[in-house]
Protein backbone atom coordinates (compact mmCIF):
# COMPACT_ATOMS: atom_id res chain seq x y z
CA UNK A 1 0.00 0.00 0.00
CA UNK A 2 2.79 2.46 0.95
CA UNK A 3 4.85 1.60 -2.20
CA UNK A 4 2.18 2.97 -4.50
CA UNK A 5 2.88 6.73 -3.93
CA UNK A 6 6.61 6.05 -4.24
CA UNK A 7 6.05 4.22 -7.50
CA UNK A 8 3.84 7.05 -8.71
CA UNK A 9 6.51 9.59 -7.77
CA UNK A 10 9.18 7.52 -9.48
CA UNK A 11 7.00 7.16 -12.55
CA UNK A 12 6.34 10.90 -12.57
CA UNK A 13 10.06 11.64 -12.25
CA UNK A 14 10.86 9.21 -15.06
CA UNK A 15 8.22 10.84 -17.26
CA UNK A 16 9.64 14.29 -16.51
CA UNK A 17 13.15 13.07 -17.32
CA UNK A 18 12.00 11.53 -20.60
CA UNK A 19 10.12 14.70 -21.50
CA UNK A 20 13.22 16.80 -20.77
CA UNK A 21 15.41 14.52 -22.86
CA UNK A 22 12.86 14.63 -25.70
CA UNK A 23 12.64 18.42 -25.51
CA UNK A 24 16.41 18.75 -25.49
CA UNK A 25 16.65 16.46 -28.48
CA UNK A 26 13.97 18.46 -30.30
CA UNK A 27 15.82 21.66 -29.44
CA UNK A 28 19.08 20.19 -30.72
CA UNK A 29 17.34 19.13 -33.91
CA UNK A 30 15.90 22.59 -34.28
CA UNK A 31 19.37 24.09 -33.94
CA UNK A 32 20.97 21.90 -36.63
CA UNK A 33 18.08 21.14 -38.91
CA UNK A 34 18.59 24.19 -41.09
CA UNK A 35 19.98 23.51 -44.55
CA UNK A 36 23.28 24.91 -45.67
CA UNK A 37 23.09 26.95 -48.86
CA UNK A 38 25.80 27.05 -51.51
CA UNK A 39 26.24 30.73 -52.33
CA UNK A 40 28.31 32.42 -54.99
CA UNK A 41 29.21 35.91 -56.16
CA UNK A 42 26.45 37.16 -58.48
CA UNK A 43 28.80 37.12 -61.51
CA UNK A 44 29.58 33.42 -61.18
CA UNK A 45 28.00 31.81 -64.26
CA UNK A 46 26.26 28.89 -62.53
CA UNK A 47 22.79 28.45 -61.09
CA UNK A 48 22.79 24.69 -60.58
CA UNK A 49 25.55 22.27 -59.62
CA UNK A 50 25.45 18.58 -58.88
CA UNK A 51 26.78 17.49 -55.51
CA UNK A 52 29.76 15.96 -57.32
CA UNK A 53 30.45 19.30 -59.02
CA UNK A 54 30.27 21.12 -55.67
CA UNK A 55 32.73 18.54 -54.34
CA UNK A 56 35.01 19.03 -57.33
CA UNK A 57 35.03 22.80 -56.73
CA UNK A 58 35.68 22.51 -52.99
CA UNK A 59 38.33 19.84 -53.45
CA UNK A 60 40.18 22.37 -55.59
CA UNK A 61 39.96 20.19 -58.70
CA UNK A 62 37.83 22.72 -60.55
CA UNK A 63 39.67 26.02 -60.17
CA UNK A 64 38.09 28.23 -62.83
CA UNK A 65 34.46 29.17 -63.53
CA UNK A 66 35.76 30.23 -66.94
CA UNK A 67 39.13 31.33 -68.29
CA UNK A 68 38.73 34.82 -66.81
CA UNK A 69 37.17 33.98 -63.47
CA UNK A 70 39.09 31.85 -60.95
CA UNK A 71 37.21 30.09 -58.17
CA UNK A 72 37.76 31.63 -54.71
CA UNK A 73 36.88 29.21 -51.92
CA UNK A 74 35.56 30.56 -48.63
CA UNK A 75 35.00 28.24 -45.72
CA UNK A 76 33.97 28.84 -42.11
CA UNK A 77 36.50 28.35 -39.32
CA UNK A 78 36.33 25.14 -37.24
CA UNK A 79 33.33 24.44 -34.98
CA UNK A 80 30.88 26.37 -37.19
CA UNK A 81 27.80 24.36 -38.21
CA UNK A 82 28.39 25.11 -41.91
CA UNK A 83 31.92 23.72 -41.73
CA UNK A 84 30.69 20.55 -40.06
CA UNK A 85 28.18 19.99 -42.86
CA UNK A 86 30.76 20.73 -45.57
CA UNK A 87 33.33 18.37 -44.07
CA UNK A 88 30.74 15.63 -43.56
CA UNK A 89 28.83 15.84 -46.85
CA UNK A 90 31.24 17.40 -49.35
CA UNK A 91 34.72 16.44 -48.25
CA UNK A 92 33.73 13.31 -46.30
CA UNK A 93 36.73 14.06 -44.09
CA UNK A 94 37.55 14.81 -40.48
CA UNK A 95 39.21 18.11 -39.51
CA UNK A 96 42.59 16.40 -39.48
CA UNK A 97 42.08 14.82 -42.89
CA UNK A 98 40.87 18.16 -44.27
CA UNK A 99 44.03 19.95 -43.14
CA UNK A 100 46.22 17.15 -44.47
CA UNK A 101 44.34 17.22 -47.78
CA UNK A 102 45.11 20.89 -48.40
CA UNK A 103 48.74 20.60 -47.31
CA UNK A 104 49.13 17.75 -49.82
CA UNK A 105 47.21 19.58 -52.54
CA UNK A 106 49.53 22.59 -52.37
CA UNK A 107 52.61 20.39 -51.99
CA UNK A 108 51.64 18.60 -55.21
CA UNK A 109 51.49 22.00 -56.94
CA UNK A 110 47.84 21.37 -57.79
CA UNK A 111 46.69 24.49 -56.01
CA UNK A 112 48.49 27.64 -54.93
CA UNK A 113 46.36 28.52 -51.91
CA UNK A 114 43.99 26.76 -49.53
CA UNK A 115 40.38 27.96 -48.97
CA UNK A 116 40.13 31.29 -47.20
CA UNK A 117 38.89 31.04 -43.63
CA UNK A 118 35.88 33.12 -42.64
CA UNK A 119 34.88 33.66 -39.01
CA UNK A 120 31.20 34.53 -39.23
CA UNK A 121 28.23 34.23 -41.56
CA UNK A 122 28.00 37.99 -41.88
CA UNK A 123 31.55 38.15 -43.18
CA UNK A 124 30.78 35.20 -45.48
CA UNK A 125 27.84 37.15 -46.93
CA UNK A 126 29.90 40.25 -47.48
CA UNK A 127 33.01 38.54 -48.86
CA UNK A 128 30.95 36.40 -51.24
CA UNK A 129 29.23 39.53 -52.52
CA UNK A 130 32.51 41.38 -52.86
CA UNK A 131 34.99 38.84 -54.31
CA UNK A 132 34.47 37.87 -57.96
CA UNK A 133 34.41 34.08 -58.30
CA UNK A 134 33.74 33.49 -54.61
CA UNK A 135 31.81 30.43 -53.46
CA UNK A 136 30.86 29.66 -49.87
CA UNK A 137 28.45 27.83 -47.61
CA UNK A 138 25.90 29.61 -45.43
CA UNK A 139 23.10 28.61 -43.14
CA UNK A 140 20.09 29.19 -45.39
CA UNK A 141 18.53 31.37 -42.69
CA UNK A 142 21.52 33.71 -42.86
CA UNK A 143 21.63 34.29 -46.62
CA UNK A 144 21.31 37.98 -47.44
CA UNK A 145 20.57 39.79 -50.69
CA UNK A 146 23.53 40.52 -52.93
CA UNK A 147 24.70 36.94 -53.35
CA UNK A 148 23.37 34.08 -55.42
CA UNK A 149 22.10 30.79 -54.01
CA UNK A 150 23.02 27.85 -56.23
CA UNK A 151 20.72 24.87 -56.66
CA UNK A 152 22.37 21.57 -55.69
CA UNK A 153 21.15 18.57 -57.68
CA UNK A 154 18.29 20.84 -58.82
CA UNK A 155 17.13 21.67 -55.30
CA UNK A 156 17.21 24.84 -53.23
CA UNK A 157 17.74 24.77 -49.47
CA UNK A 158 14.64 23.61 -47.64
CA UNK A 159 13.29 21.66 -50.61
CA UNK A 160 12.89 17.89 -50.32
CA UNK A 161 15.97 16.09 -51.61
CA UNK A 162 18.38 18.94 -50.83
CA UNK A 163 21.60 17.17 -49.81
CA UNK A 164 23.37 19.73 -47.63
CA UNK A 165 21.78 19.37 -44.21
Amino acid sequence: MSASPIRRAAGFLAAVCLALVALQSLDAQGQHDSSVAVVVHPDVPVTNLTLQEVRSVFLGDRQYWNSKLPVVLLIRAPVAHERDVVLRVIYEMSEVQFKRYWIAKIFRAESATPPKIVYSNDITNELTAAIPGAIAFLDSQDVRPGIKVVRVDGHLPGEPGYPLK
Binding site: T47, T50, Q52, E53, R55, S56, D61, R62, Q63, Y64, N66, S67, P70, A77, V79, A80, E92, S94, E95, V96, Q97, K99, R100, I103, A104, I106, F107, R108, A109, A112, T113, K116, Y119, S120, N121, D122, I123, E126, L127, A129, A130, I131, D139, S140, Q141, D142, V143, R144, P145, G146, I147, K148, V149, V150, R151, L156, P157, G158
Partner: protein, 426 residues
Protein backbone atom coordinates in the same frame (compact mmCIF):
# COMPACT_ATOMS: atom_id res chain seq x y z
CA UNK B 1 42.57 40.09 17.18
CA UNK B 2 43.20 36.44 16.55
CA UNK B 3 39.81 36.20 14.83
CA UNK B 4 40.68 39.22 12.67
CA UNK B 5 43.99 37.62 11.66
CA UNK B 6 42.22 34.38 10.77
CA UNK B 7 39.66 36.34 8.73
CA UNK B 8 42.45 38.11 6.83
CA UNK B 9 44.21 34.79 6.14
CA UNK B 10 40.92 33.26 4.98
CA UNK B 11 40.28 36.18 2.62
CA UNK B 12 43.86 35.95 1.35
CA UNK B 13 43.38 32.21 0.75
CA UNK B 14 40.13 32.81 -1.12
CA UNK B 15 41.77 35.58 -3.12
CA UNK B 16 44.64 33.30 -3.96
CA UNK B 17 42.19 30.65 -5.04
CA UNK B 18 40.45 33.16 -7.28
CA UNK B 19 43.77 34.21 -8.74
CA UNK B 20 44.64 30.60 -9.39
CA UNK B 21 41.30 30.20 -11.06
CA UNK B 22 42.26 32.97 -13.44
CA UNK B 23 45.28 31.15 -14.78
CA UNK B 24 44.98 30.29 -18.47
CA UNK B 25 42.52 27.49 -19.02
CA UNK B 26 43.65 24.31 -20.69
CA UNK B 27 43.23 23.94 -24.46
CA UNK B 28 39.95 22.05 -24.09
CA UNK B 29 38.52 24.98 -22.14
CA UNK B 30 39.79 27.39 -24.80
CA UNK B 31 38.08 25.38 -27.50
CA UNK B 32 34.81 25.62 -25.61
CA UNK B 33 35.32 29.34 -25.20
CA UNK B 34 35.99 29.76 -28.92
CA UNK B 35 32.89 27.72 -29.71
CA UNK B 36 30.80 29.81 -27.36
CA UNK B 37 32.15 33.05 -28.82
CA UNK B 38 31.52 31.92 -32.39
CA UNK B 39 28.00 30.88 -31.51
CA UNK B 40 27.49 34.24 -29.89
CA UNK B 41 28.75 36.03 -33.03
CA UNK B 42 26.27 34.01 -35.09
CA UNK B 43 23.42 34.84 -32.71
CA UNK B 44 24.29 38.53 -32.75
CA UNK B 45 24.55 38.57 -36.53
CA UNK B 46 21.15 36.91 -36.83
CA UNK B 47 19.72 39.45 -34.46
CA UNK B 48 21.19 42.35 -36.45
CA UNK B 49 19.83 40.82 -39.66
CA UNK B 50 16.38 40.42 -38.13
CA UNK B 51 16.39 44.01 -36.95
CA UNK B 52 17.55 45.24 -40.34
CA UNK B 53 14.86 43.22 -42.07
CA UNK B 54 12.23 44.66 -39.78
CA UNK B 55 13.44 48.17 -40.49
CA UNK B 56 13.64 47.57 -44.22
CA UNK B 57 10.20 45.94 -44.36
CA UNK B 58 8.43 48.37 -42.09
CA UNK B 59 6.44 50.35 -44.75
CA UNK B 60 5.11 47.28 -46.58
CA UNK B 61 4.76 43.57 -45.91
CA UNK B 62 7.73 41.62 -47.12
CA UNK B 63 8.74 38.03 -47.60
CA UNK B 64 11.24 36.30 -45.43
CA UNK B 65 14.89 36.86 -46.03
CA UNK B 66 15.43 33.37 -47.33
CA UNK B 67 12.60 33.71 -49.83
CA UNK B 68 13.95 37.02 -51.10
CA UNK B 69 17.35 35.56 -51.78
CA UNK B 70 15.94 32.36 -53.19
CA UNK B 71 14.03 34.40 -55.72
CA UNK B 72 17.13 36.37 -56.65
CA UNK B 73 19.02 33.13 -57.14
CA UNK B 74 16.61 31.82 -59.72
CA UNK B 75 15.69 34.99 -61.53
CA UNK B 76 18.15 37.85 -61.85
CA UNK B 77 16.94 40.79 -59.79
CA UNK B 78 15.45 43.79 -61.53
CA UNK B 79 17.70 46.86 -61.66
CA UNK B 80 15.69 48.56 -58.92
CA UNK B 81 16.09 45.55 -56.69
CA UNK B 82 19.79 45.48 -57.49
CA UNK B 83 20.13 49.11 -56.49
CA UNK B 84 18.31 48.39 -53.28
CA UNK B 85 20.74 45.57 -52.58
CA UNK B 86 23.71 47.82 -53.28
CA UNK B 87 22.22 50.46 -51.03
CA UNK B 88 21.80 47.95 -48.28
CA UNK B 89 25.43 47.00 -48.57
CA UNK B 90 26.56 50.58 -48.60
CA UNK B 91 24.84 51.01 -45.25
CA UNK B 92 27.22 48.46 -43.78
CA UNK B 93 30.92 48.89 -43.62
CA UNK B 94 32.16 46.42 -46.23
CA UNK B 95 34.85 44.07 -45.01
CA UNK B 96 38.27 44.79 -46.33
CA UNK B 97 38.15 42.65 -49.45
CA UNK B 98 41.41 40.83 -49.62
CA UNK B 99 43.72 42.84 -51.79
CA UNK B 100 45.76 40.19 -53.54
CA UNK B 101 49.36 41.14 -53.24
CA UNK B 102 51.79 39.32 -55.45
CA UNK B 103 53.99 37.49 -54.95
CA UNK B 104 52.52 35.93 -51.81
CA UNK B 105 54.96 33.26 -50.77
CA UNK B 106 54.08 30.42 -48.43
CA UNK B 107 56.72 28.04 -47.11
CA UNK B 108 56.08 24.63 -45.62
CA UNK B 109 58.70 22.28 -44.29
CA UNK B 110 58.95 18.53 -43.91
CA UNK B 111 61.43 16.60 -41.82
CA UNK B 112 62.09 13.15 -40.46
CA UNK B 113 64.40 11.31 -38.07
CA UNK B 114 64.93 7.62 -38.63
CA UNK B 115 66.36 4.56 -36.91
CA UNK B 116 67.12 1.27 -38.58
CA UNK B 117 68.64 -2.10 -37.69
CA UNK B 118 69.01 -4.96 -40.14
CA UNK B 119 70.73 -8.31 -40.25
CA UNK B 120 72.16 -7.58 -43.68
CA UNK B 121 75.90 -8.22 -43.76
CA UNK B 122 78.05 -5.13 -43.99
CA UNK B 123 75.47 -2.71 -42.61
CA UNK B 124 75.39 -0.93 -39.28
CA UNK B 125 72.37 0.05 -37.29
CA UNK B 126 71.70 3.58 -36.08
CA UNK B 127 69.89 6.85 -36.46
CA UNK B 128 69.89 9.18 -39.41
CA UNK B 129 68.43 12.59 -39.98
CA UNK B 130 66.57 11.81 -43.16
CA UNK B 131 65.72 14.81 -45.27
CA UNK B 132 64.98 18.40 -44.36
CA UNK B 133 62.65 19.65 -47.07
CA UNK B 134 61.28 23.11 -47.79
CA UNK B 135 58.38 23.63 -50.15
CA UNK B 136 57.52 27.02 -51.58
CA UNK B 137 54.29 28.05 -53.27
CA UNK B 138 54.02 31.60 -54.48
CA UNK B 139 51.22 32.98 -56.65
CA UNK B 140 52.74 35.67 -58.91
CA UNK B 141 49.37 36.76 -60.30
CA UNK B 142 45.87 35.33 -60.58
CA UNK B 143 47.06 32.87 -63.19
CA UNK B 144 50.79 32.47 -62.67
CA UNK B 145 52.26 30.50 -59.79
CA UNK B 146 55.74 29.46 -58.76
CA UNK B 147 56.35 26.19 -56.91
CA UNK B 148 59.68 25.03 -55.53
CA UNK B 149 61.03 22.22 -53.38
CA UNK B 150 64.54 21.94 -51.96
CA UNK B 151 66.03 19.24 -49.78
CA UNK B 152 69.00 19.02 -47.44
CA UNK B 153 70.30 15.49 -46.95
CA UNK B 154 73.05 14.52 -44.53
CA UNK B 155 75.88 12.59 -46.17
CA UNK B 156 79.13 11.18 -44.85
CA UNK B 157 81.91 12.31 -47.15
CA UNK B 158 85.62 11.86 -46.37
CA UNK B 159 85.18 11.40 -42.61
CA UNK B 160 82.90 14.39 -42.25
CA UNK B 161 79.18 15.07 -42.55
CA UNK B 162 77.96 17.41 -45.24
CA UNK B 163 74.44 18.43 -46.16
CA UNK B 164 73.72 18.00 -49.83
CA UNK B 165 71.39 20.70 -51.09
CA UNK B 166 69.21 19.60 -54.00
CA UNK B 167 66.65 21.56 -55.98
CA UNK B 168 64.02 18.84 -56.23
CA UNK B 169 61.41 20.89 -58.05
CA UNK B 170 61.32 24.41 -59.40
CA UNK B 171 58.59 25.39 -61.82
CA UNK B 172 56.54 28.29 -62.97
CA UNK B 173 53.02 27.57 -64.18
CA UNK B 174 50.58 29.59 -66.23
CA UNK B 175 46.92 28.59 -65.93
CA UNK B 176 44.68 29.43 -68.87
CA UNK B 177 41.75 27.56 -67.36
CA UNK B 178 41.06 24.10 -65.93
CA UNK B 179 41.64 22.54 -69.32
CA UNK B 180 45.05 23.94 -70.08
CA UNK B 181 47.94 24.82 -67.80
CA UNK B 182 51.51 25.03 -68.96
CA UNK B 183 54.62 25.05 -66.83
CA UNK B 184 58.38 25.11 -67.24
CA UNK B 185 61.02 23.84 -64.86
CA UNK B 186 62.07 20.75 -62.96
CA UNK B 187 59.44 18.22 -61.88
CA UNK B 188 59.02 14.84 -60.37
CA UNK B 189 58.35 12.88 -63.55
CA UNK B 190 54.61 12.22 -63.91
CA UNK B 191 55.22 8.67 -65.10
CA UNK B 192 54.43 7.25 -61.69
CA UNK B 193 51.68 7.92 -59.15
CA UNK B 194 53.81 7.85 -56.00
CA UNK B 195 56.42 10.15 -57.50
CA UNK B 196 53.93 12.96 -58.03
CA UNK B 197 51.64 12.28 -55.09
CA UNK B 198 54.03 12.40 -52.13
CA UNK B 199 57.23 14.00 -53.50
CA UNK B 200 59.66 14.41 -50.56
CA UNK B 201 56.96 14.78 -47.92
CA UNK B 202 57.43 11.61 -45.89
CA UNK B 203 54.74 12.80 -43.48
CA UNK B 204 52.22 12.59 -46.32
CA UNK B 205 52.91 8.96 -47.15
CA UNK B 206 51.76 6.08 -44.97
CA UNK B 207 54.98 4.09 -45.01
CA UNK B 208 58.50 5.04 -43.95
CA UNK B 209 60.09 4.66 -47.36
CA UNK B 210 59.07 4.99 -50.98
CA UNK B 211 58.73 1.87 -53.08
CA UNK B 212 62.09 0.82 -54.50
CA UNK B 213 60.94 1.47 -58.08
CA UNK B 214 60.72 5.22 -57.34
CA UNK B 215 63.24 5.60 -54.57
CA UNK B 216 65.34 8.77 -54.67
CA UNK B 217 68.65 8.05 -56.28
CA UNK B 218 67.22 4.94 -57.90
CA UNK B 219 67.54 4.10 -61.56
CA UNK B 220 64.43 2.10 -62.43
CA UNK B 221 62.22 5.10 -63.21
CA UNK B 222 63.53 8.61 -63.89
CA UNK B 223 62.45 10.45 -60.76
CA UNK B 224 63.12 13.94 -62.13
CA UNK B 225 62.34 15.64 -65.39
CA UNK B 226 63.52 19.04 -66.67
CA UNK B 227 61.47 20.71 -69.38
CA UNK B 228 57.91 21.82 -69.98
CA UNK B 229 54.61 20.26 -69.05
CA UNK B 230 51.08 20.87 -70.29
CA UNK B 231 48.26 19.59 -68.13
CA UNK B 232 44.57 19.92 -67.46
CA UNK B 233 41.18 18.31 -67.46
CA UNK B 234 39.68 16.57 -70.47
CA UNK B 235 35.95 17.30 -70.80
CA UNK B 236 34.58 13.89 -69.91
CA UNK B 237 31.58 14.41 -67.65
CA UNK B 238 31.73 12.38 -64.49
CA UNK B 239 34.72 10.32 -65.66
CA UNK B 240 37.08 13.06 -64.46
CA UNK B 241 39.78 12.54 -67.07
CA UNK B 242 43.01 14.51 -66.75
CA UNK B 243 46.13 14.67 -68.91
CA UNK B 244 49.76 15.63 -68.57
CA UNK B 245 52.01 15.93 -71.59
CA UNK B 246 55.64 16.91 -71.22
CA UNK B 247 58.90 17.27 -73.09
CA UNK B 248 62.31 17.59 -71.48
CA UNK B 249 65.92 16.58 -71.12
CA UNK B 250 65.39 13.09 -69.78
CA UNK B 251 68.03 11.06 -68.01
CA UNK B 252 71.52 12.41 -67.56
CA UNK B 253 74.86 10.61 -67.89
CA UNK B 254 74.17 9.25 -64.43
CA UNK B 255 70.74 7.86 -65.25
CA UNK B 256 69.51 8.49 -61.70
CA UNK B 257 69.66 12.24 -62.32
CA UNK B 258 67.90 14.61 -64.68
CA UNK B 259 69.77 16.95 -66.99
CA UNK B 260 69.41 20.05 -64.82
CA UNK B 261 72.31 21.84 -66.46
CA UNK B 262 71.51 20.71 -70.02
CA UNK B 263 70.78 17.59 -72.01
CA UNK B 264 73.49 15.09 -72.83
CA UNK B 265 72.14 14.43 -76.31
CA UNK B 266 69.95 16.02 -78.94
CA UNK B 267 67.07 13.71 -78.22
CA UNK B 268 64.27 15.05 -76.02
CA UNK B 269 62.47 12.84 -73.55
CA UNK B 270 58.67 12.91 -73.57
CA UNK B 271 55.99 11.87 -71.15
CA UNK B 272 52.24 11.36 -71.49
CA UNK B 273 50.06 10.65 -68.49
CA UNK B 274 46.31 10.09 -68.50
CA UNK B 275 44.33 9.46 -65.38
CA UNK B 276 40.75 9.42 -64.21
CA UNK B 277 39.20 10.51 -60.92
CA UNK B 278 35.55 9.47 -61.39
CA UNK B 279 33.25 11.97 -59.71
CA UNK B 280 30.81 9.30 -58.64
CA UNK B 281 33.46 7.10 -57.01
CA UNK B 282 35.09 9.66 -54.75
CA UNK B 283 38.57 8.51 -53.76
CA UNK B 284 39.34 6.36 -56.79
CA UNK B 285 42.09 7.22 -59.24
CA UNK B 286 43.37 5.10 -62.09
CA UNK B 287 45.56 5.87 -65.03
CA UNK B 288 48.46 5.06 -67.24
CA UNK B 289 51.52 6.77 -68.63
CA UNK B 290 54.29 6.46 -71.17
CA UNK B 291 57.78 7.90 -71.09
CA UNK B 292 60.25 7.85 -73.97
CA UNK B 293 63.93 8.80 -74.02
CA UNK B 294 67.32 7.96 -75.44
CA UNK B 295 69.90 6.92 -72.88
CA UNK B 296 73.48 7.98 -73.41
CA UNK B 297 75.92 6.99 -70.72
CA UNK B 298 79.70 6.45 -70.80
CA UNK B 299 79.37 2.90 -69.46
CA UNK B 300 76.54 1.49 -71.59
CA UNK B 301 75.57 1.41 -75.26
CA UNK B 302 73.11 4.00 -76.63
CA UNK B 303 69.57 2.82 -76.00
CA UNK B 304 66.00 3.82 -76.67
CA UNK B 305 63.88 3.73 -73.55
CA UNK B 306 60.12 3.33 -73.34
CA UNK B 307 58.49 3.13 -69.94
CA UNK B 308 54.85 2.18 -69.63
CA UNK B 309 53.10 2.33 -66.29
CA UNK B 310 49.62 1.97 -64.83
CA UNK B 311 48.23 2.74 -61.41
CA UNK B 312 45.04 2.01 -59.53
CA UNK B 313 44.58 3.70 -56.17
CA UNK B 314 41.86 4.21 -53.60
CA UNK B 315 42.91 7.16 -51.48
CA UNK B 316 40.35 6.99 -48.69
CA UNK B 317 41.94 5.61 -45.57
CA UNK B 318 39.29 2.98 -44.80
CA UNK B 319 40.89 1.25 -46.58
CA UNK B 320 43.78 2.81 -48.48
CA UNK B 321 44.87 0.84 -51.52
CA UNK B 322 47.77 1.77 -53.77
CA UNK B 323 49.03 -0.31 -56.66
CA UNK B 324 51.35 0.42 -59.55
CA UNK B 325 52.95 -1.56 -62.30
CA UNK B 326 55.74 -0.38 -64.62
CA UNK B 327 57.64 -1.92 -67.49
CA UNK B 328 60.94 -0.44 -68.63
CA UNK B 329 61.74 -1.35 -72.22
CA UNK B 330 65.30 -0.78 -73.43
CA UNK B 331 66.44 -1.34 -77.02
CA UNK B 332 70.16 -1.15 -77.77
CA UNK B 333 70.46 0.95 -80.92
CA UNK B 334 73.56 -0.78 -82.31
CA UNK B 335 72.49 -4.40 -81.84
CA UNK B 336 68.70 -4.19 -81.61
CA UNK B 337 68.85 -6.19 -78.38
CA UNK B 338 65.75 -5.73 -76.25
CA UNK B 339 65.37 -5.84 -72.45
CA UNK B 340 62.13 -5.61 -70.50
CA UNK B 341 62.34 -4.96 -66.77
CA UNK B 342 59.22 -4.89 -64.65
CA UNK B 343 58.30 -3.65 -61.22
CA UNK B 344 55.16 -3.42 -59.19
CA UNK B 345 53.95 -2.83 -55.67
CA UNK B 346 50.68 -3.28 -53.82
CA UNK B 347 50.07 -1.40 -50.59
CA UNK B 348 47.09 -1.79 -48.28
CA UNK B 349 46.43 0.28 -45.17
CA UNK B 350 43.50 0.89 -42.89
CA UNK B 351 42.92 3.74 -40.46
CA UNK B 352 41.47 2.10 -37.37
CA UNK B 353 38.23 3.67 -36.13
CA UNK B 354 39.24 3.43 -32.46
CA UNK B 355 41.65 5.44 -30.31
CA UNK B 356 40.84 8.74 -32.03
CA UNK B 357 41.66 7.23 -35.43
CA UNK B 358 45.37 7.70 -34.83
CA UNK B 359 46.55 4.19 -35.75
CA UNK B 360 46.99 2.99 -39.29
CA UNK B 361 48.48 -0.46 -39.88
CA UNK B 362 49.77 -1.24 -43.36
CA UNK B 363 51.36 -3.84 -45.56
CA UNK B 364 53.22 -3.52 -48.87
CA UNK B 365 54.57 -6.07 -51.28
CA UNK B 366 57.14 -5.04 -53.88
CA UNK B 367 58.69 -6.83 -56.78
CA UNK B 368 61.35 -5.77 -59.28
CA UNK B 369 62.97 -7.89 -61.93
CA UNK B 370 65.59 -6.80 -64.45
CA UNK B 371 66.83 -9.45 -66.91
CA UNK B 372 70.41 -10.62 -66.94
CA UNK B 373 72.61 -8.53 -69.17
CA UNK B 374 70.38 -5.44 -68.89
CA UNK B 375 72.95 -2.68 -69.60
CA UNK B 376 71.84 -0.10 -67.00
CA UNK B 377 69.32 -1.74 -64.65
CA UNK B 378 71.28 -4.90 -63.85
CA UNK B 379 71.23 -5.85 -60.18
CA UNK B 380 67.96 -4.14 -59.36
CA UNK B 381 66.05 -7.31 -58.48
CA UNK B 382 63.91 -7.18 -55.37
CA UNK B 383 61.22 -9.12 -53.51
CA UNK B 384 60.18 -7.29 -50.38
CA UNK B 385 57.42 -7.38 -47.80
CA UNK B 386 56.84 -4.46 -45.47
CA UNK B 387 54.48 -4.51 -42.51
CA UNK B 388 54.11 -1.62 -40.14
CA UNK B 389 51.94 0.80 -38.30
CA UNK B 390 51.64 4.56 -38.40
CA UNK B 391 50.61 6.48 -35.31
CA UNK B 392 49.67 10.14 -35.71
CA UNK B 393 51.05 11.86 -32.64
CA UNK B 394 49.41 15.16 -33.54
CA UNK B 395 47.77 16.62 -36.61
CA UNK B 396 51.19 17.38 -38.06
CA UNK B 397 53.53 14.66 -36.78
CA UNK B 398 53.58 10.89 -36.89
CA UNK B 399 55.52 7.85 -35.68
CA UNK B 400 55.99 4.88 -37.98
CA UNK B 401 57.33 1.43 -37.12
CA UNK B 402 58.13 -1.07 -39.84
CA UNK B 403 59.43 -4.56 -40.33
CA UNK B 404 60.88 -5.42 -43.74
CA UNK B 405 61.89 -8.72 -45.20
CA UNK B 406 63.98 -8.27 -48.33
CA UNK B 407 65.57 -10.50 -50.94
CA UNK B 408 67.58 -8.82 -53.66
CA UNK B 409 68.99 -11.60 -55.83
CA UNK B 410 68.41 -15.33 -56.07
CA UNK B 411 71.91 -16.16 -54.87
CA UNK B 412 71.81 -13.70 -51.97
CA UNK B 413 70.27 -14.44 -48.55
CA UNK B 414 67.06 -12.78 -47.43
CA UNK B 415 67.61 -10.09 -44.78
CA UNK B 416 65.28 -8.51 -42.28
CA UNK B 417 65.14 -5.12 -40.70
CA UNK B 418 63.31 -2.97 -38.22
CA UNK B 419 62.79 0.67 -39.09
CA UNK B 420 61.45 3.53 -37.00
CA UNK B 421 60.65 7.02 -38.13
CA UNK B 422 59.17 10.19 -36.78
CA UNK B 423 58.11 12.56 -39.51
CA UNK B 424 56.41 15.91 -39.44
CA UNK B 425 55.43 19.02 -41.32
CA UNK B 426 55.87 22.54 -40.05
Amino acid sequence: MRKLLLAVLWIAFLGGGTALGQTPSPPAGQAELVTALLERIDRLERRVNDLENKLACAPEPCATNAKLVTASAVDPPAPAAKNATMQEHQDHPMPAVEQSTYPSMQIRGFGDVDFFATDQKGTTSGFDLGQFVLHIASPLSKKVTYFGEVSFTAQNVAQSTVYALQVERTLIRYDYDDFFKISFGKYHTPVNYWNTEFHHGLWLQTTIARPEMVKFGGTFIPVHFVGLLGEGEIPSGGVGLNYQVGMGNGRGENIATAGDAGDINNNRAWVVNLFSRPQHIYGLQMGGSFYGDEITTPTAPRMKELISAVHFVWTRETPEFLSEFANVHHRVLDTGQVFNSLAYYIQVAYRLPWLEKKWKPYYRFEYIHAPKGEPVLHGTNLVESTAGVRYDITEFAAFKTEYRSTKRATNEPRFNGVFLQTCFTF
